[in-house]
Amino acid sequence: MPILPLDRLAVLVPDGALLALPPDNSLTPAEFARALVRAGARNLRLLGVPVSGYATDLLIGAGCVASVQSSGVSLGEAGFAPRFSAALKAGTIAMTDATCPAIHTMLQAAEKGVPFMPLRGVLGSDILAHRADWKVIDNPFAAGGGDPIVLLPALSPDIAAFHAMMADTEGNVYVGRRHELATIAHAARRSLVTVERIYDGNLLEDERLAAGTISATYVEAVAVAERGAWPAALLDAYSADPAHYAEYARLAKTEDGFRTYLDRYVRRAAAEAAE
């Protein structure tokens, strides 16, 4: 399991990949998204697990995205996601709406290696009416029938990307209490992970750390990206940066403002790092 420079990790994402991203409150790979912008990723099909925030809006604004499947796209307290809204209005991205537990369920089906999983609820929602890939059957276990239930197909992202606290040199990565990240990694064909730092030892051989560790079995490559979730929070390591969210939300309201944001925080940072 190689430990790569961040820009080498970003180019492992082929154009058109179905890329699963956790939301801003759960190990979002924000710096990796910025690296994807710098790498010129194209036609990405983003999957919010189960919702989407800064990274998704940034990638949309930078023209990297063909479609989004998510249960919600927003910047939290900073408001609606401006580049998402603009792209949707302009018709430059396709949007597939879902509901949070449905996304979890589709990934769990892939994790388990079954073609589908059922989910209660959802019936009567127009989301269902717009999902030709979701089916309704009569619950075969209901005596007498007449109990409709939704079946959701397994969904295997081409790539899962997230920002973990640390990785060891085996490629095991520490996500702490965020066990839903393990399901994303299990369901995806490949996982690309940024981390704050490399752990000296084997995470799975420490009983305390093992409880929050995802096995290297699922991890294709790792890159170190310090404060890689910024402006989002990372577990107990650092808090979110609401001022930066507000700045992003303000700039990204317009195409020009978004270009300013890219120059200021995405492209310049790389140029400085290269010096």
């Binding site: 759960s26 949707l88 209005k89 709406d97 609820g121 009567g124 929602s125 066990h179 577990l235 808090s239």
Partner: protein, 260 residues
């Protein structure tokens, strides 16, 4: 400290909504709320829940977006699983549009998926509304563009067809102007109370959907001085980490102040 909140008589609209929500949570006619979950971007319901708890009621709170010390180890998935198990007694939902059958629209207006105006999306509503034991709807803006005769798109339905597995429905709708009760059997709201400065006529004018109303319309009770003290003190303390902007705006307090 913000000068605007120095006196109890200066009740903020958010505080009134929180107190109204708290009264509904504790409604003795409703099934007990032993375990309440609060979703993302729901500071007013979160304040209401903390108010209930800080008032001495032993309710279990699961706050979805509390960054640290939250009760989950699988993020939102654990909330949805808990709800699937029937363990979540009460949830809160808002809506970009809400109609008279208690349908909510978090998708957008105009052609699918919100070509006229896009809302953030449905989040877990399509599941939670059917699977939580009860739901309280809330929305600060109470206007004809939000309270519509029929939502453009249904994120989650107010009532379900016979045979559809459903644990609960909307108990009530709390807005910046009033409180409505919802009767799922009739799929219809009844105005329960109007906030100060509102009237039967002003509510009717602000509401795009039809509903029943008593005559006269009762006034929504003010938060008590004790409730206001709790909201501005210990409730705000609990919320600063998750909702810094809300706490600054409503309570005039900042996270840096708390940390200092």
């Amino acid at each position: 400290m913000g000068a605007a909140v120095d006196t109890p008589s200066d009740i903020r609209p958010e505080e009134r909504m929180a107190a109204a929500l708290a009264a509904l949570i504790l409604d003795p006619a409703a099934p007990p709320a032993r375990h309440i979950a609060v979703g993302a971007a729901s500071p007013i319901p979160a304040a209401a829940c903390w108010l209930v708890r800080k008032s001495g009621h032993p309710v279990r709170l699961s706050l979805l977006h509390k960054p640290s010390g939250n009760p989950f180890t699988a993020g939102t998935r654990e909330l949805f699983d808990l709800t699937g198990q029937g363990r979540i007694d009460l949830f809160f939902l808002g809506g970009g549009q809400i109609d008279g059958q208690a349908n909510i629209n978090l998708i957008g207006t105009g052609d699918w998926p919100g070509r006229a105006a896009r809302f953030p999306g449905s989040f877990g509503s399509a599941f939670m509304y059917l699977m939580a034991n009860r739901t309280i709807l809330f929305r600060e803006e109470h206007s004809p563009r939000v309270m519509v005769p029929r939502v453009d798109h249904i994120s989650a339905p107010g009532v379900s067809a016979p045979g559809v597995f459903r644990r609960g429905h909307a108990q009530a709708l709390v807005t910046g102007r009033s409180v409505f009760r919802f009767d799922p059997a009739r799929a219809r709201f009844t105005l329960a109370s109007a906030h100060p400065a509102e009237s039967a006529a002003s509510i009717r004018a602000a509401t795009g959907f039809d509903y029943d109303a008593p005559d006269p319309v009762p006034a929504t009770a003010d938060p008590t001085p004790d409730q206001l003290a709790l909201l501005r003190g210990p409730v705000c303390d609990e919320m600063l980490e998750t909702y810094p902007e809300f706490c600054r705006r409503v309570f005039g307090r900042s996270a840096t102040e708390a940390a200092a």
